[in-house]
């Protein structure tokens, strides 16, 4: 990485860390005040954490509470840091690691535009049907599909559409919720 061949000595102790990376989905309940999303994103960029996916919307408008779902990767120590760093922010109520609970359902919505004629159109529709993707717009030479599912299902669908005339994709990012009667 940042390692020139003849590395000079430094005032800092620079050590490589080789712990394996993990992917975690975090649900964060926040006070929906101005700048709260900038705070969360700034934390990630400022401290060098990864954001794979980020979804945010107000969920309890009366209490001004928003729910942010973040998919992130890092070593176990970094993931723990991310949770604590989020938790100590003033407008953050709670942070739950959905991956650790092991009881989370994750869903993403994608809109997928595919262009084609003839045989390709038939094949496209057949595959869309298999993936339970709905047609939400159609012209004589294109479809827009709406598909919901976990990230890997959507990736798979997009991969299949590529040779059939994939034009573009718009994805919402992951939303997650725990199974069972209890809320977070």
């Amino acid at each position: 990485m940042n390692q020139p061949a003849n590395q000079p000595a430094s005032a800092y102790f620079i050590e490589d860390r080789h712990d394996p990376s993990e992917t975690h989905t975090l649900s964060v309940l926040v006070q929906n005040e101005p700048g709260v999303l900038a705070r969360v994103i700034g934390l990630f960029s400022g401290r060098g954490y990864n954001i794979e996916s980020l979804t945010v919307s107000e969920t309890e408008s009366q209490k001004h509470v928003s729910r942010i779902t973040i998919v992130t990767t890092g070593t176990p120590m970094v993931i723990e840091q991310i949770k604590h760093q989020l938790d100590r922010m003033v407008p953050v109520y709670r942070v739950v690691d959905m991956t650790l609970t092991g009881r989370a359902i994750e869903r993403e919505l994608a809109m997928v535009k595919v262009r084609g004629v003839g045989e390709h159109r038939v094949e496209t529709l057949r595959l869309a049907d298999a993936f339970r993707a709905r047609v939400i717009d159609a012209t004589v030479e294109s479809f827009v599909f709406e598909i919901t599912g976990n990230t890997s299902k959507i990736n798979q669908f997009i991969d299949l559409m590529r040779p059939l005339g994939l034009v573009e994709v718009s994805r919402t990012g992951v939303a997650a919720i725990a199974r069972g009667p209890e809320g977070m």
Partner: protein, 591 residues
């Protein structure tokens, strides 16, 4: 409208700000006026409960407020204008965030309808200060102002303290709205810091301490921040357990330097005995410190054989750099109280005679040794004489950043908390002089000394003018070696002694400079002059700039070279050119 005019809680935003300061017991604020805060300055003019200290640069206001806060335990308050006023505050805010200092900074902003228009002296203050504050607010409605101000004081001072910014557009300052005095509900709804440590974890910690053969306590700034009671409890815990104690730069004074269990400061320029004790201990109790990189040295070789107990109010400090065995989240004072209570009830002093004998051997290495001279003032000697001359007095020490700071930490003995103000985390050159101004405002009759370097002190030297205006008799004791000493030391040790831009070719005549500002200038060149000059400095009841000419090429030892562990310290007697070169050459491979 007419019935409301008799309501005493109806007032302008500007009046609310001053009223809120009074309601929070603020006696002094530090600031600098400008277009976007004129309504607030107009309110300040018309009252006498809050005294405003006019600085010469907004950065000076910030550091003065930090010094004020650290020496009193109360929040420091700053008032600056929009745009450059706010951006000049960024350094003190970042400094206060790193060192957990409670600051409430009120900034003016352009009127709300101009926000986003690149108006004159506009900047995105909340955007710029977001990563260097604990929290910040832009107030768009005058009726929110009272609540936000009260929340701001709450957030700054509760949990892990830190700086906050309240950005108030000029039209909000002019607008009339309803004020309410602080009330219990003026806490931020989602911010509830945890103060009490988990009882089970505390039991585990006590069991570990009681059965330890080679224990050590490593305390930090969190103990100071927690208040005087925390320092008292720490002292009692050391007394009851008989365990040796070391401290970070930020924690000096929580345990007295004259105490019999004191090992000295630890870390990169800490004593040999404290670092060896950290390396060789079997149980480590860390209270209010955060295992930062100046403390740990090489992480994978840090205290390899110990069980670690970590007490911190901030959960994100735990397991950040070093994995610990018993994490306890809570306020240092509260947890120390519980630890002490459980220890007294359930445990006995561990038998650690053999450990103390080992420590005595390390101590005998005399790691703070330096070669005295009859011709030149050695910087360490200057601090030793300063300490002797001020010992037992009501004294506060601030510092700038660099070699002089480390020498002050090593050679000045701190007996009490809140007496030592230094920029630890951010390492801000230029901190000490304005911080001394702030300390002196809070303690007008005390002796306040800024131990400075010739380079650092010039970064905020203009605040001498503030000291003169308010008759604050601060003493600026400059260890003048004509170099940026710590930069030069690193260049010598790590960069082949190529002293790139670390020598100051054209230093001012500090004595004349002092006189130009209306201060007293004193110079000492020979060791034989030093004591007399220091006594003169102390006895003068005016601000003093003391130009102490010291050995220019002295290095700060002992030292943990980069990429090394605690037990690989470079001691002063070993630090001949050859040993130094090889210690750092080995580090190169790792870095």
């Amino acid at each position: 409208m007419s019935d409301k005019s008799h309501d005493p809680n109806q007032m302008t935003g500007a009046a609310m700000i001053v009223r809120a300061l009074i309601d929070h017991g603020v006696q002094h604020i530090f600031g600098y006026p400008g277009g976007a805060v004129l309504p607030i300055y107009d309110e300040i003019f018309q009252q006498s409960e809050v005294q405003h200290i006019l600085v010469r640069h907004e950065q000076g206001a910030g550091h003065a407020a930090e010094g004020y806060a650290r020496s009193t335990g109360k929040p420091g308050v700053v008032l600056v204008t929009s745009g450059p006023g706010a951006t000049n505050m960024v350094t003190p805010l970042a400094d206060a965030l790193m060192d957990s200092i409670p600051l409430v900074c009120i900034t003016g902003q352009v009127p709300t309808h101009l926000i986003g228009n690149d108006a004159f002296q506009e900047c995105d203050t909340v955007g710029i200060t977001r990563p260097c504050t604990k929290h910040n607010w832009l107030v768009r409605d005058v009726n929110d102002l009272a609540k936000v101000l009260h929340e701001a004081f709450y957030v700054a001072t509760s949990g892990r303290p830190g700086p906050v910014v309240v950005d108030v557009p000029k039209d909000v300052q002019f607008a009339t709205g309803t004020y309410h005095p602080p009330r219990k509900s003026d806490v931020h709804v989602s911010y509830t810091p945890r103060l009490k440590g988990d009882a089970q974890q505390i039991r585990k910690a006590v069991a570990l301490l009681a059965s330890a053969k080679r224990p050590v306590i490593y305390s930090g700034g969190g103990v100071i921040n927690s208040g005087r009671e925390a320092s008292r409890l720490l002292r009692e815990l050391v007394e009851v357990t008989g365990i040796p104690i070391t401290s970070t730069l930020m924690g000096l004074g929580a345990y007295p330097a004259s105490g019999k269990n004191w090992l000295g400061m630890l870390g990169m320029h800490g004593t040999y005995e404290s670092n060896m004790a950290m390396h060789g201990c079997d149980v480590m109790l860390c209270v209010g410190a955060r295992f930062d990189d100046r403390i740990t040295g090489r992480i994978d070789a840090f205290s390899p054989g110990s069980k670690k107990i970590h007490v911190d109010i901030d959960a994100s400090s735990i397991n950040k750099n070093i994995r610990v065995d018993v994490p306890i989240i809570g306020d240092a004072g509260s947890v120390l109280g519980d630890l002490l209570q459980v220890f007294k009830a359930e445990a006995k002093k561990p038998d650690i005679k053999a450990w103390w004998q080992e420590i005595a051997k390390w101590r005998a290495r005399n790691s703070l040794y330096y070669k005295k001279s009859n011709d030149i003032i050695m910087p360490q000697y200057a601090i030793e004489r300063l300490f002797e001359a001020t010992r037992g007095r009501d004294v506060y020490i601030t510092t700038e950043v660099g070699q002089h700071q480390m020498w002050a930490a090593q050679f000045y003995g701190f007996e009490e908390p809140h007496r030592w103000m230094t920029s630890g985390g951010l390492g801000t050159m230029g901190y000490g002089l304005p911080a001394a101004v702030g300390v002196q405002v809070a303690h007008p009759d005390s002796l306040v000394i800024d131990v400075g370097g010739d380079a650092s002190v010039q970064m905020t030297i203009q605040e001498l003018s503030t000291a003169v205006q308010y008759e604050l008799p601060i003493k600026v004791f400059i260890l003048n070696n004509q170099y940026m000493g710590m930069v030069r030391q690193w260049q010598q040790l790590l960069h082949g002694n190529r002293l790139s831009h670390s020598y100051t070719e054209a230093l001012p005549d500090f004595v004349k400079l002092a006189e130009a500002y209306g201060c007293v200038g004193i110079q000492a060149i020979k060791p034989s002059d030093l004591d007399g000059a220091i006594h003169e400095m102390i006895s003068v009841k005016r601000p003093v700039l003391f130009d102490c000419r010291v050995a220019s090429l002295e290095n700060c030892f002992p030292m943990i070279p980069s990429g090394k562990a605690h037990n690989e310290m470079l001691l002063p007697e070993q630090a001949n050119d050859e040993a130094t070169a090889s210690a750092f050459a080995a580090g190169k491979a790792l870095v």
